[in-house]
């Protein structure tokens, strides 16, 4: 196991390097650069001379060869310097330092929420296949699977405003927005966060529960389940010990994708909910071709993906001994 972990870590370094190249290149792909989009945002009255444009380009280092640009970015990255956001005129590290902790504070509980809710529901649905409860859960699940999370967010905001008179979205309710930190403010933040977790998690719950149900249905009719039953084990105990253990493998293998999906797949929802996570930041950075910021966020997300995959691989090895290390 330890050997495997070390070997995998080595592979992860290579993967991360390749990702850094791809991230940088992808950001460069759209025509034009930050200076173009910056000029486009300037009001029409300003006349910008060609000299000024060249000066801007060289100021940002955009006039150099892409390889040189990449190498400078990457070597800086290794020293913990992610460059400067053109748009915000602040270091990327600073910006991420503001957003990443909050992103993780929402993402990780969301992931836990998804698995804690979806796996038991999936198990129940499979064991009681075609029961009214199964139909109800599947029906609700499909609805939440079909509705995009941001729409749920909008509906939640509407309901919250219309019927409860409160504001939904943001990290704090208006009365705490500018207030100094207090117990009330922390509770308020947790309350708002739990709503965000609920909204962001619904799609994941619906999808994971379908996967769990389907996988378990396959396993429930396997011969080894009958063997366990013939042994005299009680029904729930044998289901939890045998088929669930096998069926949970594919669910575990999705953890690697869930982490980045929750972080980057929720830009729109986070934008709607006005939650300052990295999602809206990335969306904005890509739109304005703020390349160091965008590349750095993509790079960080990729590292999280790689770590997530690593965790899910370790869990898989634990769950299914047939998987060779």
């Amino acid at each position: 196991m330890l050997n495997y972990a070390i070997r995998r870590s080595g592979q992860m370094l290579v993967t991360v390097f390749v990702i850094s190249v791809i991230a940088f290149v992808v950001i460069q792909l759209p025509p034009g650069d930050f200076v173009n989009s910056y000029l486009a945002t300037l009001s029409g009255g300003n006349i910008v001379t060609q000299d000024a444009i060249i000066a801007l380009r060289s100021q940002f280092g955009l006039d150099e060869n892409i390889v040189v640009q990449y190498w400078r970015w990457f070597t800086n990255l290794l020293q913990g310097n992610m460059g400067i956001s053109f748009q915000y005129q602040r270091t990327v590290l600073d910006l991420l330092g503001e957003r990443l902790p909050l992103t993780l504070a929402i993402t990780i509980p969301t992931a836990i929420f998804v698995y804690l809710v979806a796996i038991p529901i999936g198990i129940y649905s499979a064991v009681r296949q075609y029961s009214p409860t199964d139909y109800l859960l599947s029906f609700v699940g499909f609805i939440f699977l079909a509705i995009p999370n941001f729409l749920i967010a909008i509906i939640a905001i509407y309901i919250g405003y219309r019927y409860f008179g409160g504001s939904v979205g943001g990290l704090f309710s208006p009365e705490y927005e500018l207030a100094p930190w207090s117990l009330g403010k922390v509770l308020n933040m947790l309350q708002n966060m739990s709503l965000a977790i609920l909204i962001i998690g619904t799609g994941g719950v619906a999808a994971t529960m379908r996967v769990m149900r389907g996988m378990l249905l396959d396993e429930l009719s396997q011969a080894y389940v009958e063997t366990a039953r013939a042994k005299g084990l009680s029904e729930w105990r044998l289901i939890m010990k045998y088929p669930v253990r096998v069926a949970v493998s594919p669910v575990l293998s999705t953890i690697g994708f869930v982490l980045p999906a929750l972080i980057s797949g929720t830009e729109i929802t986070a934008t709607v909910l006005n939650i300052p996570t990295t999602g809206p930041l990335l969306l904005n950075a890509v739109r304005s071709q703020d390349m160091f910021l965008a590349a750095s966020i993509i790079f960080v997300l990729s590292i999280l993906t790689v770590i997530g995959t690593f965790i899910s691989d370790l869990l898989l090895v634990w769950a299914d001994p047939r998987i060779k290390l």
Partner: protein
């Protein structure tokens, strides 16, 4: 010929039906049989004749949507008390104590009948600890002992291995070890050697005979291999479409069958020397009828060579005594004078 051994299991007019959207499948339709303590009884029949469903009815593990519709399954418990298994809650305490503890089952597929993600030892120890209140260390010791009893090589190592790491024959040995770990009084074997190659099959059969003698348990041995029946059992029950059509000692079944279906089964298997004497293989004509549309009268009349066209089509025959300790479900059992086959002389040394 009377048997003075205690009655261990008595299935009486058991009906197990499957309620499907297309209609009711009468998988077992009035089957009766008895097993005495220490007796080896074989159940023979084609695929889909209700053998497996009947066995699962005994343990009350009939898969959904199957249900026991009527009938009784009486079983003598360790205490000597006679209980009706059909009256028990399928997930209740009493039946779970009997499952694995007093009636154990071995399944057909050693590949898929063991959990792929648990060690052999884990699965055997679980059975032991479920029925005997012993600490884990002792359960482990007992598991190694029972693995040694089923002639498993290197039991101390095998116990910590996963099923995918050992061969099919060894898996079936592990399966048998698991079934025997709680010293059941009845072992139900559902085609335990069908999935194994011939040499492994012979080893497993020999092992089961030896263990049966050693443990003094009764075996209900299901197979569609008549050769295996001849080797393994003393009494044979032949099933067709969910009913027992003939039941007799193994000699009577082979030498003096009374039911046309048994006769047809015996003559449809190849025997050595058959070609030199000019005999041909006679397959049973037709196929097993659609379970949704059971034939009227005798269910076998659609394929029977002795169908009289009247009584066989209209009147359902009953299972009746046609000789000493010999029952058959045919209107003409006594008058057909069916020919038996040569003695299945080959015996597996115990």
């Amino acid at each position: 010929m009377t048997d003075d051994r205690h009655l261990l299991l008595e299935i009486d007019e058991l009906k197990t039906h499957y309620h499907t959207p297309q209609g009711i499948v009468k998988a077992v339709e009035g089957a009766s049989l008895t097993v005495r303590e220490g007796q080896a009884v074989g159940i023979v029949g084609e695929s889909g004749c209700g053998k497996s469903v009947m066995l699962r009815s005994i343990l009350r593990i009939v898969p959904k949507p199957g249900q026991i519709a009527s009938g009784k399954i009486r079983f003598r418990r360790k205490t000597g008390e006679m209980v009706d298994l059909t009256g028990m809650d399928a997930n209740g305490r009493p039946i779970r104590d009997i499952r694995g503890g007093e009636i154990a089952m071995i399944f057909q597929e050693p590949m898929s009948s063991l959990s792929p993600v648990h060690t052999i030892g884990d699965q055997i120890m679980e059975a032991i600890q479920l029925h005997k209140k012993v600490p884990a260390a002792q359960a482990r010791k007992m598991a190694i002992d029972i693995l040694a009893k089923v002639a498993m090589p290197r039991p101390e190592q095998i116990i910590d291995q996963y099923p995918y790491e050992i061969s099919g024959g060894m898996r079936q040995r592990a399966m048998i070890a698991m079934a025997l770990s709680c010293e059941p009084r009845l072992l139900i074997a559902d085609e335990p050697t069908t999935a194994l190659d011939v040499t492994t099959q012979a080893q497993i059969l020999a092992l089961m005979r030896k263990l049966q003698a050693e443990f003094g348990m009764a075996i209900l041995f299901v197979t569609h291999d008549l050769g295996v029946v001849a080797q393994m059992t003393e009494y044979v029950v032949v099933m067709y479409m969910g009913q027992v059509v003939e039941a007799a000692s193994v000699d009577d079944i082979f030498f003096a069958p009374k039911h046309p279906y048994t006769h047809a089964l015996l003559h449809s298997i190849p025997r050595l020397g058959q070609r030199t004497t000019g005999q041909r293989l006679e397959p049973i004509r037709g196929t097993v009828p659609d379970p949704f549309a059971r034939p009227s009268g005798c269910p076998f009349h659609t394929r029977c060579n002795f169908n009289d066209g009247r009584r066989c089509i209209s009147e359902v025959p009953v299972l009746r005594e046609v000789g000493p300790n010999h029952q058959a479900r045919c209107h003409y059992a006594e008058t057909l004078a069916l020919a038996g086959v040569g003695a299945p002389t080959e015996q597996v040394p115990a």
